[in-house]
Structures are given as structure tokens and as C-alpha cells.
């Protein structure tokens, strides 16, 4: 921005210098056109009018040529300067735009990166929460299923116990052989002899 301003100021200064130079030339021309002495008027009056007019034309032509030349030079310089300025301005604008855009893009990039990091962190938290919940639910279901299966198996075995013991009782009930049981009965009595003695005596 600073170099652009300097260029513009230089351009304005150049234009002002050109204008001042043009005005000074104009004053010189006006001075050349005004008669300065009575002697010259006398010459004008006395017959030197042709020379005077010729001088004026020459001077005018010279001045015009000078002015044209100066103007062309100034225009060329101005053209060159303007071209350079335009190029510089374009270059500066391009740099500024690029710089600004880069800065803005960098801001957006940082912001997006921050958002991305936050999103990833939130997703991680969510994922962890979901995983924990999943594990908890699976464990709970597994525990429930295991308990229910164990309960059902226990009930089945209890039923088997009832059926088998009932079958054994029914089967043996009809075929009792006390002869083979007497030793068992006496052994059972011996086992509880002290209790029985205490109750009888």
C-alpha cells in the first residue's frame, strides 16, 4: 500500500511539474508577443512590420514545437510512468489480493482444523460412549442370558432328580429285601447310638 501511494504521489507531482512547465512556457510566449520599446514600434510603424510578423510566427512555431516536444516527452514519460504504475498497481493488487486471500484462507484453514479437531474429539467421545454402552449392554444381556440358562438348566436337573428318584423309589418299593438291609440298619443304628441311648435311657 505504501509503494502504491508513493507512486501515485510521484505521478501527481510529475503532472504538476508538467503543468507548471507548460505555464512558464506560455508566459515566455506572451512576453515575446508584447512590444517592449518605442523603438520597435517605430520600426513597426516605419516599415519593419513584415520582419516583426515573421518573428512572431517563427517564435510561435518554435514555441509550439517546443511545447509539442515537451508535451510529447511528458506524455511519453507519463505513458511510461502510467504503464509502470499500472503494472505495479496490478502487481501490488495481485500481491495484496494473494496475501489477503492467503491470510483469509489460513484463517479458514485454522478454523476448519480447529473444527475438525473438535469434531474428531467429539466423535471419539461419542464413539467411546457408544462402545462403553455397547459393552455394558452386551455384558448385561450376557449375564441375564447366563443366569436364565443356568436357572433353566437347574430346573431341568431338578426335574431329572425328581423323575429319577421317583423312578428309583417306585422301582425299589415293590422289591424290598430286608435280609440284605439288616446290616445296613444295624450300621445306621450304631452310627446314631449315642443319640438313641440318650433318648431311651
Amino acid at each position: 500500500m505504501d509503494s502504491t501511494m508513493i507512486t501515485i504521489i510521484l505521478l501527481i507531482t510529475l503532472i504538476l511539474i508538467s503543468v507548471v512547465y507548460g505555464l512558464s512556457l506560455n508566459k515566455k510566449i506572451q512576453k515575446l508577443q508584447v512590444p517592449t520599446s518605442p523603438r520597435e514600434e517605430e520600426l513597426h510603424v516605419e516599415g519593419s512590420k513584415i520582419f516583426a510578423e515573421m518573428d512572431m510566427k517563427t517564435i510561435e512555431a518554435f514555441a509550439l514545437a517546443q511545447m509539442k516536444d515537451a508535451t510529447e516527452k511528458s506524455a511519453a514519460k507519463l505513458q511510461s510512468s502510467l504503464t509502470n504504475i499500472a503494472e505495479k498497481v496490478a502487481s501490488e493488487l495481485s500481491d495484496i489480493a494473494t496475501k489477503n486471500l492467503d491470510q483469509e484462507f489460513e484463517k479458514y484453514r485454522v478454523h476448519l482444523e480447529s473444527l475438525r479437531s473438535k469434531s474428531i474429539a467429539q466423535f471419539d467421545t461419542l464413539q467411546k460412549s457408544l462402545n462403553d454402552h455397547y459393552v455394558e449392554q452386551v455384558t448385561k444381556i450376557d449375564t441375564t442370558l447366563t443366569a436364565e440358562a443356568s436357572k433353566q438348566i437347574d430346573a431341568l436337573y431338578a426335574r431329572i432328580d425328581d423323575v429319577v428318584s421317583g423312578y428309583i423309589i417306585d422301582s425299589l418299593g415293590a422289591t424290598v429285601d430286608l435280609g440284605t438291609q439288616s446290616s445296613v440298619i444295624i450300621a445306621e443304628l450304631e452310627k446314631h447310638k449315642d443319640d438313641i441311648k440318650r433318648e431311651i435311657v
Binding site: 431338578a158 424290598v176 439288616s182 445296613v184
Partner: protein
């Protein structure tokens, strides 16, 4: 001193039967003594093997009336005071088994009576009832109380 009953007499009912027979026998003895006094021929009385065993076991003289009367008195006292245990078996036991069991109980208490009963649903073993307690040694109870052993065996066999 209380008399010691033979193991073949194990129940109060048997003692009751023995007492009835002893009373009859004592009457015959009195009758024989009276007949002897008048020179009459005494009537020969045949004792049952059951009563004969009782006299042998109690070392009583079956020809002496006072001894018989003493035996009657002792038996009546015994029937009134002796403890009784009740044994329930899966089938009715024979005499040998009854005597075996009675013999075992009389090691603990020499005057104890044993009453036998049957219940086929106990499968085997016995249920013993004393005056204050019931001991269930039946197979049925043992089987039912340990029926989870069946499933334990099944589980361990997996």
C-alpha cells in the same frame, strides 16, 4: 432288680400275652397245690415255648407259685415302666431280624420294648421313633435329600 426279657419277647403286646398265659398258669399251679393237699392228682399243664423261654431267660422256677407270681408282678411293672421304641421298616421283618434289632437295643437299655411297623413307600432302611425324637433312616428320605447328587453326577459326566 428288674427281670431281663429274652430277645424273642420284644413288644408290650407279647408281654401282655405272656402275662395272660402266666395268670392262667398260676391258677393251674394253685389248683394243683390245692389238689395235692387233698391227695388228688394234679393236672399236668403244658407251657407254651414262648412262656418256657421266658422262665428260662428269667431264671424263674416254673413249679413254684410264689416265683410265678413274682414274675407276673415284675412283668406288669416292666410293661408299665419300660420304654418303647417304634421301628418302621419297608416290609414286615421276620423273627430273626426282629430279635437282631431287639438285641441291639437291649445293649443300650435291657428292658426296652421294640414295636415294629411297616411302610412300603420308604423303600428301605427304617424310621426310628423314640419318646421324643424321630430318626428317619429310610432310603426314600436319603434318596430325596440327596437327589441333587443325580444331577451332580450327570453334570460331572458331561
Amino acid at each position: 432288680m428288674a427281670i431281663r426279657l429274652p430277645d424273642s419277647i420284644y413288644s408290650q403286646n407279647q408281654v401282655g400275652v405272656a402275662l395272660a398265659e402266666l395268670h392262667t398258669y398260676a391258677g393251674h399251679l394253685r389248683d394243683s397245690l390245692a389238689r395235692a393237699k387233698i391227695g388228688s392228682q394234679p393236672i399236668d399243664i403244658a407251657l407254651s415255648p414262648f412262656l418256657d423261654a421266658l422262665f428260662t431267660a428269667t431264671n424263674s422256677d416254673k413249679k413254684v407259685l410264689s416265683g410265678v407270681e413274682t414274675l407276673i408282678t415284675e412283668l406288669e411293672d416292666l410293661r408299665r415302666t419300660a420304654p418303647t421304641v417304634h421301628i418302621t421298616l419297608a416290609a414286615f421283618p421276620d423273627e430273626s431280624m426282629k430279635m437282631t434289632i431287639t438285641k441291639w437295643f437291649r445293649q443300650i437299655h435291657p428292658e426296652v420294648f421294640v414295636a415294629f411297623g411297616t411302610r412300603s413307600d420308604i423303600v428301605g432302611g427304617m424310621i426310628l421313633r423314640t419318646s421324643s425324637t424321630i430318626h428317619d433312616f429310610s432310603y426314600r428320605t436319603q434318596l430325596l435329600s440327596h437327589r441333587n447328587r443325580i444331577s451332580e453326577i450327570l453334570r460331572s459326566a458331561k
